[in-house]
Symmetry: C2
Subunit: 203 residues, 2 copies
């Protein structure tokens, strides 16, 4: 069974790469489908599910009871419940057929299910360029605003990872790390697929 | 012109991968040849050259003059001179023909000469295994001693890099990072070469 997880930096083109890899290998591709499935299983609205599973439970709110300072986490209960559902959904998808799973910390949550873990990154110039090309019409952010947004998204994702992994997640969690700076994503598909196939044939 | 630099973790099989990539692409391979060339250009013995360029100039020796504590670095003068020679040797080799250059901080020292930078790494279990297989006959280190050696070599290499790069060198300095854990190096050659060729054809 070939299960390819893909973690990517925002703006690196990782999602496009994942989709093209799945097409090229003729296997399933899961991305937004995962959130939909979590929403279905939990009976909660998709947007609400996203707002919870995309944030680590570290965002505490200080509250005063009398003279005592207390910290509570308003998301905590649903967060834990939804993570459990997310884990089950990921494991179910990964057991069903060969697939590419983008994001969702799949490389951490699949547990004993073996996977080929890909990390996709790029330099800031490339990420800016890709964000500009993909921006919705009418978005007129300056470079500095866009960089600030990209960094904020990365910071949040990283916090989420650190919280799930119990520490930072580095290169050692990935079998291949691909720098897409200045490259057309489609030009990288064939060699990455050939790498993945070689990796699976030398088990 | 294709110039492939390769930085590797000790025990990751990076050198073997570099050599096989050069063979497969039919291009020059530089590794020990660089030290020989620096020794020739400087008129210094190869072992002495290695002892200097393989260490960052941070190893100061405290010396007392009267009541004043002073730090001097016995290597400093030759270090700077030899780094300059190393830079020239690397640039010369990279300008002569397509090649693979292993180690020597080539990705930092080539300056304006464009290169494809490869990083090769592995988990500790794999590195231990590879060191065992390649150990000279009669070497009977325990796992812990071997791990200590591997970490010491990595620490020294890293110090050297940080000193040359003026900061830590991360993923962003590399176009592709390859995890060789549990893999036969020769099984990775074809896909890495195909990646490098794809990268060069999408310039």
């Amino acid at each position: 069974m070939k299960v390819i997880t893909l973690r990517r930096e925002f703006g690196s083109g990782g999602r496009e790469l994942g989709k093209r890899i799945a097409e090229s290998m003729g296997i399933a591709y899961y991305d937004k489908e995962i959130l939909e499935e979590i929403a279905r299983s939990s009976g909660l609205a998709e947007e609400y599910v996203r707002s919870i599973v995309d944030h680590s439970p570290i965002s505490y709110y200080p509250i005063t009871f009398g003279h005592t300072f207390s910290f509570i986490n308003t998301y905590n209960e649903n967060y834990v419940r939804l993570l459990r559902i997310q884990e089950n959904v990921l494991k179910e998808l990964a057991s069903k057929s060969d697939c590419v799973i983008v994001g969702r910390c799949a490389e951490l949550m699949l547990g004993d299910i073996p996977s080929f873990n890909l990390f996709v990154y790029a330099d800031m110039e490339s990420k800016l360029h890709r964000c500009r090309v993909k921006a919705p019409e009418g978005e007129n952010l300056t470079d500095n605003e866009l960089i600030k947004n990209i960094k904020a998204i990365e910071k949040n994702r990283k916090r989420n990872y650190v919280s799930l992994a119990g520490g930072d997640v580095g290169m050692e969690n990935y079998h291949l790390c691909v720098n897409t700076s200045g490259k057309e994503i489609k030009s990288l598909v064939a060699p990455v697929v050939s790498y993945i196939n070689a990796w699976y044939s030398d088990k």
